[in-house]
């Protein structure tokens, strides 16, 4: 190997700016995903088939196609089809938000359906009406049970957010790519960028792991 490393070429300031954009994007997308994902979960569990089917298709479509395809599609096809163009950040939030909604809806659905039937029986035996059973028994238990998956999905979205660099949102990845081409120091730049992503994700995954273990102890 005849390559000399020069990390001085990597200026941190634009990368941190990019990181800030990535974090904003991640936060906004997660708010959408956690809130609307829940509504979507209710829709895909609707007893009415005509309501359920289109939303199930929606969820499956977003779960079964690459995120990069979704992003490129939303960025280029939506404006052409509907002749609207929102600012790139909004489009990015929309693209990743739809993706996360689909994944979170699945997480909610799984944990709502995992509420044991006996719990509901107990609710009936205590005279709670159907709405009360859903409100006081199903939601709290299901929401708690979904938290680790929601957090994991949230971190995955932080990583997926790197894809918006391809459509020129100036996130961490985009700044990294720009820096790499400007300085012709791709190794150093990409190494630093990878480390920044890691430094943000790692502590969160550790917390999720901790929560998961705590929950398992509590439930068993």
């Amino acid at each position: 190997m005849n390559y000399t490393f020069d990390f001085n070429a990597v200026s941190i300031a634009p990368l941190l700016q990019g990181l800030w954009v990535s974090l904003q994007l991640t936060a906004a997308v997660n708010v959408l995903g956690v809130v609307l994902g829940f509504g979507l979960a209710l829709l895909i569990m609707s007893p009415i088939k005509v309501v359920r089917l289109p939303f199930m298709l929606f969820v499956e479509f977003f779960r079964c196609t690459p995120a990069i395809v979704q992003i490129v599609w939303i960025f280029y096809c939506v404006p052409m089809l509907f002749d609207v163009f929102l600012d790139p950040m909004t489009m990015g939030i929309m693209a990743l938000g739809l993706n996360l909604m689909a994944f979170n809806a699945e997480a909610y659905r799984a944990s709502i359906q995992a509420v044991p039937r006996e719990q509901l029986d107990a609710g009936i035996a205590l005279g709670l009406n159907p709405l009360q059973r859903v409100l006081y028994i199903v939601f709290p238990t299901a929401f708690r049970a979904s938290i680790p998956v929601l957090l994991t999905n949230g971190i995955v979205i932080f990583q997926q957010s790197a894809l918006v660099a391809i459509v020129a949102i100036q996130d961490l990845m985009y700044q990294g790519k720009t820096l790499a081409t400007e300085t012709y120091r791709p190794i150093e730049t990409f190494t630093v960028v990878a480390l920044i992503y890691f430094a943000v994700s790692f502590p969160i995954t550790q917390i999720v792991g901790l929560l998961e273990r705590r929950r398992q102890i509590l439930v068993s």
Binding site: M1, T65, V69, V72, C77, M80, L163, I187, T191, T205
Partner: protein, 222 residues
């Protein structure tokens, strides 16, 4: 609102198939290599050796904690320099996605190993089974059976993530799709069809996951 004309795609059927073939080839190779790697790393992660555990843990956390896109960039352009060897695009793609797959499947294998109750091992000891039979006849088959549904989901993830190689210039389905959409200036039709192709492959796989999951759960009563 524009009018859509999907017939232009007929001209590029062969190209799309070639792109799809690249995507599938890449996915299948990386599934095989990645699962093998993941299994070994899963074992290392569960082993008693502290160094092995630390190294495998760091590997998993790093690959799960960084975007696949940056892993690809790094392996495409940095690894050859650091190793001082030339790597073809395909080789780089295979290395990157194999490492990604290895990281996610190792967790699957580890979880399935962990889910085998200690009492199964007690039963092995009580039956006097030698260590080799414990592993080959009791632990491995159960671990693999339990891992299958999650492994299939991992495969679907890999299939989807493989679309990222288009960003480093590998001519996979996504790359060909973008190439066509540029040439024809019909991105809506082309990208929609590309998305549908991905969906048509991934969706049946996810259905298979639930089906197989049901079967295995029933058989093992877990």
């Amino acid at each position: 609102m524009m009018t859509l004309d999907f017939s232009i795609l007929l001209r590029f059927e062969h190209a799309l198939l070639l792109g799809l073939w690249m995507t599938i080839k890449l996915t299948v190779i990386c599934i095989v290599l990645g699962c093998s790697l993941g299994f070994l790393v899963g074992l290392a992660r569960a082993s008693g050796n502290l160094a092995l555990r630390a190294v495998s843990g760091a590997y998993i956390e790093f690959f799960r904690g960084t975007p696949v896109l940056i892993q690809l960039f790094w392996i495409f352009f940095c690894l050859p320099l650091i190793l001082g060897v030339e790597l073809s695009n395909l080789a780089s793609g295979v290395i990157a996605l194999t490492l990604y797959m290895g990281a996610i499947t190792s967790e699957t294998f580890r979880a399935s190993l962990k889910s085998i109750g200690l009492e199964q091992l007690d039963a092995c000891v009580a039956l006097g089974l030698p260590r080799s039979a414990q592993v080959i006849n009791v632990v491995l088959p159960q671990a693999v059976l339990r891992a299958i549904p999650t492994l299939l989901s991992n495969c679907v993830s890999l299939f989807k993530e493989s679309a990222l190689v288009s960003a480093v210039g590998m001519a996979d389905l996504m790359f060909v799709g973008q190439n066509i959409s540029n040439n024809t200036a019909r991105p809506v039709e082309v990208l929609t069809v590309v998305a549908l192709i991905y969906f048509a492959i991934a969706f049946p796989l996810t259905r298979a996951v639930s089906l197989i999951e049901g079967r295995i759960l029933k058989k093992l009563a877990i």
